[in-house]
Amino acid sequence: MFRHTPLRHAVLAILALAALMQAFTAGYFGLEILIEILILCMLVLALDLVAGFGGMVSLCHGALMGVGAYAFAALATLAGLDPWLAALAAVALTAAVAWVIGAICARSHGIYFIMATLAFGQMAYSYVFESPLFGGDDGMGGIDRFDLTAIGIDLNDSRTFALFCLAVLGAVYLFATAILRSGLGRSLTGVMHNEKRMKALGLNTWRIKADVFGLSGIIAGIAGVLAAQHIMFISPGLLNWTVSGEALVVVILGGLGTLVGPLVGAVAFVVMKHQLGEVTTYWHLVVGIVLIAVVMSRANGIFGWAEARWGARLDRRLADATRSPTPEEVTSDA
């Protein structure tokens, strides 16, 4: 069951501090990378929710994010809806689509579940790719960011937008933990551990799975709306299965089913991608080897490894201490 350990709190605090520092000090491209990380964080939180706590390894979360992005763009630019209203509708639509996919796929398990979600994701991708209404493979432009000038905030400034995304990510993280700590989330964990028993106890397990998949869709939809606003342009590539595959890699790299781990994974993945991308166009090779090494090490990703190595000791020490943990203490211990 999900719970916050001192190590998790500490890592969250470090990540939040690092993000804030980056947001206030970085140049233009540094901010772009930060925003990219923040949006990826939301997507992998959505994925970890279903994959790490419900055993539903989805290859359609990229497509769900794309549905959110396209719905927002279409409602805001084509239908001329107020951006906030468009965002709300886009998130609701994404959640509904996710719920339906979850409900249909809930009966399948393992590789069949993966393939079923892949099928739905690719259907959405093909549809958008060939749809003249949404600009086909050329994509759609002219997407505006939220207008917060009424309260003195200009989101067209990269720094402000980065901080806005950070705030949204914080809210999304709290939402995800709230789901996991609810009766629904607890039951989901039960379903992952033993679906047969949950049924025998009287639980509609497909409903649990579909509901959480729908909730995960809300997060993916939010990520989509922000992704569309960030680039101010969207193209069908956003829905392709490789985006979902990459998100899955990030979740595993960070630590499946830890919620904090995928955030670490997102930072590691994006930084690695950009760093290597500067040096070589063959950065996939390095990512592939790192991925193999992480999985072969049998640790549950970077964060899972840290938790296994330092988690227990640190938790004990911090439990003994009467003070609340400070980041310095944690770094010195690590």
């Binding site: 980056q22 140049g27 540094g30 493979d137 432009g141 342009f233 193209s235 590539g237």
Partner: protein
Amino acid sequence: MKRATMATLAAATTLALPAAADTVDIGILLPFSGVYASLGNEIEAGFALGLETYGNDLDVEIILHREDTEVTPATGLARTRKLILQDDVDAIVGIVSSGVLGAVRDLVDGAGVPLIVANAGNDAATGEDCSPWITRVSFSNGQVNRPMGRWMAEQGIETVYTLAPDYAAGRQMIEGFAGAFTEAGGTILGSDFTPFQQTQDFGPYIAQAQASGADALFVFYAGGEAISFVNQYASFGAAEDLPLYGSGFLTSQLYVNAQGASAEGVITALHYVPTLDNPENAAFVAAFAAANGRLPSEYAVQGYDAARALTEALATGARDRETLGAALRQVSFTGPRGALAIDPATNNIVQPIYVYETVTGPEGMTQEVLAALPAEADPVNGCVMPSLPTN
């Protein structure tokens, strides 16, 4: 993350010139990974050769900032923002896919940064979406195919079946051809658009075209799809009943060696083939082959001419965004493709189109030019060209 930024700056390469008085920052925006990586590399090779050939006499230091657009418009846009906002470039060169061009159009137009398009052929970019800041030295999708429609009708071909991948460029290429062909009296018996980058087996479509009873088949394919298509077409042995014509990208110099004998007899039209007989081209082909060990393709010449256009503009004394933008619109020169000029109404290049047949030569496949169709400017297509703010 700070190190990422520093690495980016370090990656900006300098073309060091002695005692340079001025510097200009040029962004190179090309795909270096993903399915278009080979095109990006080819254009870059041509661009490098162009700078080497024409850039040495200039009293200016050119600093290049190289960015990988991958294949995604979103990435392309993000990289363009970086070039404009962080690297503060004076001009941008490149862009392979029309999707990326569409994505960055508003940004470069709004920011007032001159963009030299070295490939993307999207008709709208020099049509309804035209911008005084965007100058295209490559081609437009309609431009390379319209003359072929008329030419084929003149050859006595009455009915045609068309095939192309189902995406914007594919549809525009076919539209350009079909419009001119029907205007000249021909009939399109049928058109299929194959799922882009998902179709590997063209057999069903080729069979469909054969069943239509058309006089000829006109197609547009590029990259791996071009190789697959030509090979599969040849294996069906349809050449006698249904000869293959196409947009010249189908049998580009880049792929003819992979297509081998399958490409024999295929007739296509394009703005460049390496066998063009003129002194500029002879010099270019020799220099390119010496540097890269292979013959240049149309992509290479587009990079080469992009560098030429840039250096011509610099030679007028232009050094910043405004002056470069104004100067780029007025360049005209005779290059490997023949006499080139920029159409002031659309900022698109005006160039001759060559009809050529792929034939077996002494060293593999080569191109035999059948006709040089005169240069003509694209229709304005709804382009309302505002004058540059400084003018």
